[in-house]
Symmetry: C2
Subunit: 260 residues, 2 copies
């Protein structure tokens, strides 16, 4: 089932995506009510971020080629993570499907996309085994971990390199029925494919991360975990459109604009 | 004015601390209603975390001696930050005044307190000047940035070193009328003073941080910024009580217990 948060005819609500229409429902994602009986055409609604994270987790370095390529950019030896150490992103940076990624005035040309699988936690867990970990996942969506590489290498933290306003497109919706194994993630810039990779070919998969995290922290419904990206990205410039497609979920598309 | 979130006679509400009593009010911190007319004795209420952060920011290395001492522990040269690069903590780890800090079973003996000033944002700001930045602060509270130093040095991120459940005591309340300049922060372990420092003797003060952050990100009401700590901490063991006092705000006290 596909859950979207949308605005239509002046009202914001959750809905269930069915073909090219969305059936509106009462209530929120975790306290969903009845269908209202109204449906909206998908191509007429404004998408919202499907869920504002309770805590916004991000795996960071979680695909081998990406670790190697980022080390090259930074001019150091690659350091393949030996265990799943989770990181954080910030809610201020979230934007929805079709909203504009704003390239800051002082950004260098190294302004890049990162296509990522996003797991949405639906159940409170602590000390969960890897075998049971996926039971805590409500569904999956798509994230673009937009990154300014110069700041990523110069700053002490990732605050502005990855959490400047509009740097975290997430959506378009949450898909609850997903088979991770055959998935591919494909990123397109202005319609041209720039990378395609096996989504689940991670250093540490979703279940491994959730189980490891839950040995020390409680995961709550509404927490989200961005699972990292593969390869080396190209630069984006204002006027570009960046699209991230993950099989079985959908496609997240955002234009790039220059800061006023 | 001192705003506390408390539980008394089975109900949770905000209240205004006045002497040894608290006057209960209707509504939340940013949509406060009328006084209910009821007051509770301070020594009979259960404190809650005064505010669940919208985004939980933390300055990290923000006092000179602390940067030097942490570098010694890690066995490297100190690297004094040249600019305010903000970091993040996570809400799962928050506990209130008087609640127990749980030392994990596999924690090493390097399990330590960090007494910190916490600024609570009350106004949405972007591109704010340093001169105007403090107008966005609703008030201040106290934080204990509990840290497991072995994990802090071994892990790729601070996720478990600083964000394990119960590692972030915050409270007891939010003080809106504060003069930063003469403040001192004093940490006591079982009543014995272990450090006392000028709270505002930061590498980058509250106004500088807020202004710098707001050049890239929007700050929202309910965001919190932990401002870092000074010096080298001692270890805490189960049975200890750690108390952090900041002049003009109050005192945050938490017992340490062992994980079951």
């Amino acid at each position: 089932m596909r859950w979207a948060k949308i605005e239509w005819q002046g009202a914001v609500s959750y809905g269930i995506v069915e073909g090219d229409r969305i059936a509106l429902v009462e209530g929120g994602l975790f306290d969903v009510g009845q269908r209202t009986g109204r449906t909206a055409p998908l191509n007429e609604v404004k998408f919202h971020v499907p869920l504002i994270p309770r805590t916004f987790y991000a795996a960071g370095m979680n695909y081998v080629d990406h670790v190697i390529e980022q080390a090259k950019i930074a001019g150091r030896e690659p350091n393949i993570p030996a265990k799943p150490d989770i990181g954080y992103r910030a809610n201020n940076a979230l934007i929805a499907h079709n909203e504009a990624i704003v390239k800051p005035k002082d950004s260098t040309e190294k302004f890049q996309y990162e296509g990522e699988l996003v797991a949405i936690i639906g159940k409170q867990v602590k000390h969960v085994s890897e075998a049971d970990a996926l039971d805590s996942v409500f569904g999956y969506t798509i994230g673009n971990d937009v990154s300014e590489r110069t700041w990523q290498n110069s700053d002490r933290t990732l605050w502005r390199a990855k959490n400047t306003d509009t740097f975290k497109p997430m959506g378009p919706w949450i898909e609850t029925d997903v088979d991770l194994e055959p998935m591919r993630t494909t990123v397109r810039l202005n319609g041209r494919e720039v990378i395609s990779f096996d989504t689940n070919n991670m250093l540490f998969g979703v279940a491994r991360y959730i189980s490891a995290m839950s040995q020390y922290l409680t995961l709550y419904p509404g927490d989200v975990i961005w699972m990292g990206t593969e390869g080396r990205a190209e630069n984006m410039v204002p006027g570009d459109v960046c699209e991230i497609e993950i099989d079985g979920i959908g496609s997240l598309s955002n234009p790039i604009v220059a800061e006023d």
